[in-house]
Amino acid sequence: MMKKVLFTLLCVFTLSTQAFGSDLETRIQAMEETLKKQQKTIEEQQKIIEELKEQIGNRIAAEKPKAAAEKTAPSGEIQKQVEELKEKVEKVAEAQTRTSPGIFNPSIGLVGETVFGYRSRGSTETGSARPGGFDAFQRSVELNVAAAVDPFAKAYAVFNASADPITGESSLGVEEAALQTTSLPWNLELKAGRFFGEFGRLGYIHDHELPFVNRPLALAEYIGGESRTDGLQLNWLVPIEHYVSLTVGAGNQFGGDNPPNYVGDFRNGSGVNYWGRLSTYFDLTPNISIEPGISGLWNPNTDAQWAAAGGVNPPFPSVAGNTFTERERRLWGADLVLSYKPLRNNQFQSLTWGTEVLYSDNRYDVTDSSGSALSSRSIGSVGLYSYLTYKFHRQWSAGFLFEYVENQVNNQDKTYAYSPYITWALSHWNQLRLQYTYTEPNAASGRAADNAVYLQWAWIIGSHSHGWQQR
């Protein structure tokens, strides 16, 4: 009926427009305008009708059971139903006020990690910061705090208290404290502050999240521990149908053990570390995937960093009577992770093979034993680690880690290490790992081969997120 009326109105309006209009184009435009207006009116009226229908429907639906209940159920039954409903509503209200990882602001989590160990050689023979023989090392107590800053960014911080290997005293440090944008256009994400820069596959993973007990030797040698930096990092998800991620960054230093360049002095662009990473991913089958990546790190001028750090200069031991001072840092990496994760029961079974190869091509200033400058030279050295982890139970996994590393100053100094390990995860938040490591340095290193057994116990309380990096 309404449509008929509207149609009639439309015809009258159209005819009258025709009668009075002189220009054809103007008339067509006017007709179109009118049609749009009429369509809008129809839609608005339909909306009102729909809303009214819905209201009537709801009223009927609400009254029907009420009437039926009044007819059939005794008053005691109604009272019981009301009580049950009240209880349910109270539960919901209670749940909404409860502390949970998602709603507590900021979310806070604490991670603890203790490593019990036995090494057959002393630290003078292994070069380790930890003593030989029996050792109990509270490697870290990490406090994680994270929250949204505003609609445009989130922030997080990781405070780490670890025991000093010499004094045993714990010192609290800011391991990470960074701001990360959440709404930049063009698939961009900017991170600023102190954070683990994206280089390689495990360089930016915290110790307790590694698939084995210790950080691979190659990462310790070439990156300097975790890939910590004070700087800026831009990530770009390439807008194509295939996953490609590109990251570039710049910062004062790179590597937790490396001090920044030119502290307290003037720092130009050549004193800054630059890094980048390109990674992609392929599903070979629904259960098998491969994730390759390449990374690069460049510090054009590093010669001032060690001198500034307490006047320690040169940083590296003498080789063949000569002294090497790092002048330029160049590091390249290629990594690959091949995973078998059956969709159906990936929490109970999986197989992961991860490999990362690093090539360091640092340039050094060389002085001889009398202090006379020799020509500067680049030293190429290679390091790699490769591991295979098989998860055969929700709580159990076992694996093997192979490592090879050349000293970045003296590439004839080579070390091999072999580590079988077994992990027992009682739950997501409580994990024990037993690892045996045989380390075999060659004669050029001046160190001795040693056997080590480690028992790592890591735990989490409070909030913990399943981050993208732990996939």
């Binding site: 349910k88 209670e94 409860r98 807008p239 001028n301 994760k341 109970f348 997120s465 399943h466």
Partner: protein, 321 residues
Amino acid sequence: MVGNNAKEEFNMKSKLYSLLSIIALIVALCGWAMPTHAAQIRIVTTLTDLADFARAVGGDLVDVRSLATGVEDTHGVPMKPSFVPIMNRADLMILVGFDCEHAFLPALLEASKNPRIQVNKLGYVDCSKGIIPLDVPKSTDHSEGDVHPYGNPHYMLDPVLAKTAIANIYNALVAFSPLHKAEFTRNRDAYLAKLSAKITEWEKAVKPLKGTKFVSYHEHWPYFAARFGMKYFGTIELKPGIDPTGRHIQELVTAMKAERVPIVVREPQFPEKAPKRIAEQSGATMITLPIMPGGVPNTETYIKMMDYIVYTMVAAVQSRK
């Protein structure tokens, strides 16, 4: 010395310019390779039941992708980087809610870099809206296992509550594309009519099972039990997300014998060993039931899945008589 520094600066600058040129080239190539805007509404769902509902309501107007294929655990969909470009272009992200997807969705949402589908945005469609949860924990303490702070998230196994999820999907589609409201309404009504008829059929079929007790591996079934008048006796898991201990299994078997619990439900995502052992020791019948469409063969849609669940349950109980 000064000359050397100047030369280094020049080298560094030229390297930086090269790097910037490469990035600019990649940007240009990507602009060329970017797909043209699709006419359909691009929907990503976490689980397959939601994908089925989205297809039913959206019809030809939507292009629906589900992160899960159906065989996964609802809490353990692998975080594949291949999901990221799909989510990056999504108009709507439909999820179960009640923290069901907490193990994989937050990280994927962040990696997707799609502001339209982030939490509290129009494209973030939480289907738990309007559902009163069961088993809301008194504490989120981990001594109770991997508890869901908002309550049990497996409401989708109650087909009446599934209607609320459908309503949420419908509302999201209408809000996103009001011009197609009439078509969405028509599709929704047609599907709801079909579902309502099936609910009547299932309720009739399950009537003889009223009061029947059963156990399952994970806490998937309280909503199902409440809807169809069955009694959910307990779980094989010690606590949510925590594997059973030998002692827990023994206690469960003893209690099942005492209470004459006839059914052990094994969800296909979990190993068969423990449910089979419990069924053998307690004298119960073990059945394998899917928890989302596609979990076992011939359950590709929600209605087919519920058919499978209901009639497998009925057949298992009847075979014992």
